[in-house]
Symmetry: C2
Subunit: 147 residues, 2 copies
């Protein structure tokens, strides 16, 4: 990680990227059982969290928040629509814009999701301050990679 010329620099265990990738996958796997009762995948849960905050949002703004594009979001939103958690309507002023809104049923899911963050913090077995500093470091890295 420090010296590019060092022997073994190009080694799996030396790569931050790999640890980040594995941890993110592990996190998603850990969420899966908690989300089963809500019939949501991990990404669908992230989308619902945005909708619980915003009520109505278009695909572009949603993609910007989640760092994802329409190729990922369009089919996902159709699946959420099929489940009855969201509505997909078009803006009256601009027909290009697809407005995503949360349904009554989708809104009710929020109640059931209320204790998920707590449970995950528990599963992480880490102190709050350590999680916060990890989050801050990731945010800095993310910002640097995406500008």
């Amino acid at each position: 990680m420090i010296d590019p010329d060092k022997e073994g620099y190009l080694t799996l265990d030396n790569q931050l990227c790999f640890v980040l990738y594995s941890t993110s996958n592990a996190m998603s796997r850990s969420y899966q059982p908690l989300l089963k009762a809500l019939d949501l995948t991990y990404l669908q849960y992230l989308v619902m969290m945005v909708l619980w905050e915003e009520q109505v949002i278009n695909v572009k703004a949603l993609g910007k928040k989640l760092h994802l594009d329409s190729g990922t979001l369009t089919p996902l939103l159709k699946r959420l629509e099929t489940k009855g958690y969201v509505n997909r309507t078009r803006s009256q002023e601009d027909e290009r814009i697809r407005l995503i809104s949360v349904t009554e049923v989708g809104e009710q899911l929020k109640e059931q999701a209320q204790h998920i963050p707590e449970k995950m913090m528990c599963l992480s077995k880490m102190e709050a301050d350590e999680l916060i500093s990890l989050k801050a470091a990731c945010e800095r890295l993310l910002a640097n990679l995406t500008d």
Copy 2:
């Protein structure tokens, strides 16, 4: 992040999981252009890194190192075989075991990959010690989530 009863606790921006997920995706996207010349995807690059270290490994051991299962690895390894980067043979002693070894061509890729970690560190725009502590925090979290 701290107080489960706090208003807005169940909010996208409060979730470590989301930042981790976005950062991991962003990292993968950042690698893609660097890996284009090697005709490798990000995950294929991780697999090749293991093979540059090990020369020969079976699918189970590879999966353990990468925290992935055969459902992900088998098709990926077939693609690497098609590219001519690895061989997929069976163990003589135990016919169930698939032995993956790196080819001459695959070995040569290592030369071209030599400067990728350096370039990524540069893209991250972060100090080495900060990257190291981020890596350590992720490792702790990963270990906690996977035992």
